[in-house]
Amino acid sequence: MSNKIVSVWTDNNFWKRSAAWITGFSAILLIWLTFDTLGQITQGTDTDMQKDAKGLYFSKRIPSATVINYKIGYEYSDKRGHEVPTINGKEKFFGRDDYSEEEAAALLHLGKLGSQAKNCMNCHTLLGNGAYYAPDLTKAWLDPKWKLMMAITQKKTREEAMAEFLQHPSKYPTHSRRMPNLDITAAEAKGLVAFLKHMSAIDTNGFPRNFGKKDITLRERSAK
């Protein structure tokens, strides 16, 4: 086998250089896009939030942790062509709607740590990523199921029902597949609920689609 080069297409050096150029170019493009994306996904501030609360939509893709002071929705937007999180005035969270930026951020921090320390992601998906043994948590805060769970846990608010469930999940089975007890304390549960509420306000470009539009809980109940 001779090494004589018949044409550029069989020249190893040509392909080597092409590989280097293509890789370099792709990498530079990715880094440039990364800067742009990171700019767009940095968390908003409470000031942004107060402005947004005058309208319906969030101005930041990832809102401030103080979103826990507000009522969150998930509505179809004609402009975007899919559902987006909405902000619908104030709402009490464990009895308060005046969490400061620091207080709210501390709760979110605790919740995010908790989600990792308890390994949520190896049963559930978060933003659609993780395991497929249990429901997606992206919009769990907005799940119609909590209405029923409030009755079952005998709590007056959604956040209290969620916190109670998280502390004693296997006491409240909803299906044959139960969530195990993960030694979640009351404080940790509060943080986790704040984390879930915040996640439901992230602009996920319409994922999941039609969330909760078929309210099965209510349908089942009316069938009875």
């Binding site: 293509i22 320390a117 049963c123 978060l126 933003l127 199921k145 940790e188 994922f207």
Partner: protein
């Protein structure tokens, strides 16, 4: 020529042995998870699904990294023509890594979770899929990998630097560097997942694939006597195509995690191109095989079990990553399939087809060289192993695909992805049947693994042509 004289190859053997053990552990953990899907009370609150799954996917990633490091130590002397530099340091690294990984697994199994505090992330479990290893272990891994990368560079600089070695040098540096993107904690889950995918995607769909391209090139030269000039030209073409599509293909994970809409177009376009290099790699292997067979007839292949696994890799990579990946890579489809059993089907066939296969092939190449066997034949066990494992994984993939379709239609399209929608889909008859078949096919896979383990222990004692 006695290739066994190289210490580098002994070090490779050590890595391969641990890799095989971890592969077995991976399968057992998968089995526990598969049983729990059908009988959720099995080991409930003792060894929960999340624990089994954590060990399943961590053992997977770690055995593959071990087998990859082993493969490099194995082929380096052949390529550079010299003994690997820093072999004693490499051995030390091996022991440090193996002890660290044993501790990590024991903690996963017995301690499992911790309080919501930084200490848990440092000492017990980081709780991010695939990257669960606690931070102390991350740092250990980085140090050991640095030793490894240093050894490769020092050897390549001293010895001959072939095209294959050049590709591996660049690739390993990128592979090791990317791990750093997964080593910090942030409150913002979108930022978290943004960097998390840098590790996961840019590993399996860029740097690991290029690594496999390098291994396949080496294997074709070694097993078929293919022309280095031609093989290395193909390798450069593959590198260009893999990185050209795979780097920006990262965008297919940025559709729904809070990142901007422009990733729809970028992710769709580049990830849709990702199957092309896999077709090229497939064609390359089959073409070289045919060409060399035309020259030398039936004596072409000097290691039949290894070659069978390399061919399985060409098929599996194309099917699992290429076809099953393309199925759900467009945002129009992915908005429904994202994070379902469909994803899981793809994950299994892709990891198996693209990586498990060729790395098992490397185990056989190592056995051949270690025992000075001129031509290694397949035994009954070799054939049972490759048939049962491949049939088992393919069967699991099909079962999961069917279950995934059911889940997508019921949970996502029809009922809108809520808590109840999820469970209604899980109780649907077709879903449950899919889970049953997955378990059955998982057992087939494990039986295949037993044949593989027996074969790896015994094949070199069978009557082969010795050097």
């Amino acid at each position: 020529m006695m290739t066994t004289a190289y210490k580098s190859k002994d070090l490779a053997t050590m890595y391969f042995i641990v890799a095989t053990v971890l592969f077995g552990a991976q399968l057992l953990m998968g089995l526990i998870g598969a049983v729990q899907f059908l009988y959720p009370e099995f080991l409930f609150e003792i060894f929960d699904f999340s624990v089994a799954r954590t060990v399943h996917i961590n053992a997977l990633v770690v055995w593959m990294l071990y087998a990859m490091i082993g493969s490099v130590y194995f082929l380096l002397p052949d390529e550079t023509g010299i003994e690997t530099v820093g072999i004693e340091l490499g051995k030390l690294g091996f022991y440090v890594l193996t002890v660290a990984i044993t501790v990590v697994v024991l903690v996963y199994v017995f301690i499992q979770i911790g309080p919501a505090a930084e200490s848990t992330i440092w000492l017990i479990n980081e709780g991010r899929e695939y990257l669960e290893a606690p931070r102390w272990a991350d740092i250990g891994i980085v140090v050991v990998v640095l030793i490894f990368v240093y050894n490769v560079y020092a050897t390549a600089i001293k010895g001959e630097r072939t095209g294959i070695v050049t590709v591996l040098m660049a690739d390993l540096l990128a592979l090791a560097g990317l791990y750093l993107a997964g080593m910090f904690f942030v409150d913002n889950i979108s930022v978290d997942q943004f960097w998390w995918w840098w590790v996961i995607h840019l590993w399996v769909e860029a740097t690991w694939e290029v690594f496999v391209g390098g291994l396949a090139a080496y294997g074709l030269i070694k097993m078929l006597g293919a022309s280095r000039q031609v093989v290395e030209m193909w390798l450069w073409v593959e590198v260009a195509m893999l990185f050209g599509s795979g780097i920006l293909g990262l965008g297919h994970h940025y559709f729904w995690i809070g990142t901007p809409e422009y990733w729809w177009e970028i992710g769709a376009l580049f990830s849709a191109l990702e199957p092309l290099p896999l077709v090229a790699m497939f064609v390359h292997v089959i073409y070289d095989w045919g060409k060399q067979a035309g020259k030398n007839g039936s004596n072409t292949i000097n290691n039949r079990p290894a070659f069978a696994w390399f061919v399985m890799n060409a098929f599996g990579n194309f099917l699992g990553a290429g076809i099953w990946g393309f199925f759900h890579t467009l945002p129009q489809v992915n908005i429904y399939t994202h994070g379902t059993q469909f994803t899981n089907a793809h994950g299994h066939l892709a990891f198996f087809g693209a990586y498990a296969t060729i790395l098992i092939g490397m185990f056989y190449l190592n056995l051949q060289s270690k025992n000075g066997i001129e031509r290694m034949r397949s035994t009954f066990n070799s054939k049972m192993a490759i048939s049962l494992i491949s049939f088992g994984v393919m069967g699991m993939t099909i079962a999961l695909t069917v279950a995934g379709y059911g889940q997508v239609l019921v949970e996502r399209a029809q009922m809108g992805a809520t808590w109840d929608a999820f469970f209604i889909s899980q109780q649907a008859q077709w879903f449950v049947q899919g889970m049953g078949w997955r378990l059955a096919m998982g057992i087939v896979t494990i039986v295949g693994f037993v044949y593989l383990a027996i074969d790896l222990l015994s094949i070199s004692k069978v009557n082969h042509e010795k050097v």
